[in-house]
């Protein structure tokens, strides 16, 4: 049997996470088919075809797939799901939204956010904000799975899969995509960044938060935040790293003025190198830090910018 991966893309390129999901799919056994659904998304279909390990690409192009509206995505996937042993998508806002719908329609208990593949029916997934790892086995005929992207390496280039057209399903007409307001930033996306600089409650205010900008610019880093900083209104919610925000695992994560609540650690503790700057010598963040400095962040951050030249 083959494995179906649902690609997350912007019409032209794959979103970070999709190539990691393709790697996870490769561990399930069987050929990997990737479905690209969207509006005017032929370019994204061609991009997927070049990813190593992809055997076939299906492209479904229709106006009602714009914004990946859950009801329409689910109906499309449902139409072909029975041809596959596993249906897999990244556990991002995209995959979380429609995959459970597919599972419910198939009478399948979905396995969310897997971080490991033990066998074709047994998986490891984090629960309790990553504080407990559960190994679960599914007896359902089709496995519906979302994948924690940071737990798998991204698949590389080198594929040349054939691209086929998949006829769109009917528009369910239940909900209408009105538009998106994306946070504009010249910086890399949090989930794709090699380096992340994050601020917490210790930043004190939205204005103060901006002192992280020169540091992020110097390092080519993305800027993130703890839930405390988001709750305090320093930055928008899409900056949030943590159990209730984004799960990240960059090469370098710099936590500034972040105490290290369990819910934040859950989102970043798999980063390769973690740096913590905090004036509280007892801050829990130090328990996961590779290097830490006990210092006033308003002094340390500008110093670091200078030190980096």
């Amino acid at each position: 049997m083959a494995v179906l991966v649902i690609a997350e893309h912007d019409g032209k390129q794959l979103k970070p996470g999709t190539t990691n999901t393709i790697t996870a799919a490769g561990k399930l056994g069987g050929d990997v088919t990737v479905l690209v659904a969207g509006h005017q998304c032929a370019e994204a279909g061609n991009a997927v075809a070049k990813v190593a390990g992809v055997a076939k690409v299906l492209v479904a192009d229709a106006p009602h797939y714009e914004g990946a509206v859950a009801e329409n995505m689910a109906a499309l996937v449902l139409g072909i799901a029975k041809n596959y042993s596993h249906v897999v998508a990244p556990a991002t806002g995209f995959g979380k939204n429609f995959m459970p719908r597919v599972a419910a329609m198939l009478d399948v208990q979905q396995i969310s956010d897997i971080s490991g593949v033990v066998s074709a029916d047994t998986f490891v997934r984090p629960t309790y904000a990553g504080n407990v790892m559960a190994t679960v086995q599914s007896g359902d005929a089709i496995k519906i799975i979302t994948v924690r992207a940071t737990a798998f390496d991204p698949a590389g280039d080198g594929g040349s899969a054939p691209v086929e057209t998949l006829a769109p399903a009917a528009d369910a007409g239940l909900s209408k995509f009105v538009g998106q307001e994306l946070t504009k930033s010249a910086r890399p996306e949090l989930t794709a960044a090699r380096i992340i600089v994050s601020g917490g409650r210790g930043m004190g205010s939205a204005d103060n938060f901006k002192i992280l900008d020169p540091l992020a610019d110097k390092l080519g880093a993305a800027v993130g935040a703890s839930r405390a900083a988001v709750d305090s209104g320093f930055v928008p919610n899409d900056y949030q790293v943590g159990q209730t925000g984004k799960i990240v695992a960059p090469e370098l994560y710099i936590a500034v003025g972040i105490s290290g609540a369990i819910q934040h650690l859950a989102g970043m503790k798999d980063s390769k190198v973690i740096v913590a700057i905090n004036k509280d010598a007892e801050a829990p963040i130090f328990s996961v830090a590779s290097y830490w400095v006990v210092d006033d962040l308003f002094k340390a951050v500008p110093e670091m910018v200078k030190e980096l030249g």
């Binding site: 914004g67 509206v69 009801e71 806002g93 939204n97 429609f98 459970p100 719908r101 597919v102 599972a103 419910a104 009478d107 399948v108 208990q109 979905q110 969310s112 956010d113 047994t122 984090p126 629960t127 309790y128 904000a129 504080n131 407990v132 790892m133 190994t135 679960v136 086995q137 599914s138 007896g139 239940l174 909900s175 209408k176 995509f177 009105v178 538009g179 998106q180 307001e181 946070t183 996306e189 989930t191 380096i195 390092l219 919610n237 899409d238 209730t244 984004k246 370098l252 369990i262 190198v273 973690i274 590779s290 290097y291 830490w292 400095v293 210092d295 340390a300 110093e303 030190e307 980096l308």
Partner: protein
């Protein structure tokens, strides 16, 4: 309009969760329990809509052991009008939750269902989506704003790169994200009042729903620990370490 909200009983998010020594699950004996924080936001939203005159009745549902009555009472102290406990000792997984809720909704006929986006124990983030699929209703997950316009709702959703606007038809299922509202504290007079509100107790069998778990948990364990780090004296030493030792910059 009638609204149905859901409230799951979970281990308090500020409690350190411990894995049982035999690896079969997590320790729940004598552990502080609470309403799932996202469910609390869902209840708060329903209460605010009632205060604004949009909602006429709020029904709160919880699924689990008899102790879930406490969770329902909390929701009623916040302002929900009546409660339904679907009592079972089984571990109820998201698909079963969706089936139980569908059976109740077929009877109750609410125009809107508000749930939390995920429970902070199993972190599945599935039940709301599954319920709306089983009902054939529209869904809006991770919402940070909702405005009712007659038979439609205008929604703002939290998505990975920012916000998304969605227009959905009612009836619908929506799931609450963090920024939808800030739940109120329950007051003692309201806790007392909640004790007098009606609370119905039913069993999954009576709803004709099989709640047996589909996923078998083979084991649970604590994640591998990170190796201990080092404290550095100042930023100068930090940058040197990052360049020469860790080689990440």
């Amino acid at each position: 309009m009638k609204v149905l909200v859901t409230a799951k009983r979970v281990i308090d998010p500020y409690v350190k969760v411990r894995v049982k020594s035999d690896g079969t699950g997590v320790e729940t004996a004598n552990v502080k329990m609470t309403i799932n924080p996202f469910c609390e936001i869902a209840v708060e939203q329903a209460v605010r809509m009632k205060e604004a005159g949009i909602v006429t009745e709020i029904v709160v549902v919880s699924i689990g052991t008899l102790q879930c009555q406490e969770t329902i009472r909390t929701a009623m102290a916040m302002g929900a009008d009546r409660g339904i406990l679907v009592e079972t000792a089984e571990e109820v997984q998201p698909l079963a939750v969706a089936k139980v809720l569908k059976a109740i909704i077929d009877k109750e006929q609410p125009k809107l269902v508000i749930m939390g986006k995920q429970a902070i124990d199993d972190d599945s983030n599935q039940s709301g989506q599954m319920l709306s699929a089983l009902l054939g209703w529209p869904q809006a997950t991770h919402i940070s704003n909702i405005t009712i316009n007659g038979d439609n709702a205008d929604i703002t959703r939290e998505i990975d790169g920012g916000l998304e606007k969605l227009a959905i038809k009612l009836p619908a299922v929506v799931t609450a994200d963090l920024r939808l509202n800030e739940p109120r504290y329950v007051t003692l007079p309201n806790i007392m009042k909640a004790k007098k509100k009606p609370l119905e107790n039913i069993k999954p069998d009576a709803l004709g729903v099989d709640v047996k778990p589909r996923l078998k948990t083979l084991k649970v364990e604590e994640p591998s620990k990170r190796s201990a780090g080092v404290k550095v004296a100042d930023v100068k030493e930090l940058v040197a370490k990052l360049k020469n030792e860790a080689r990440v910059i």
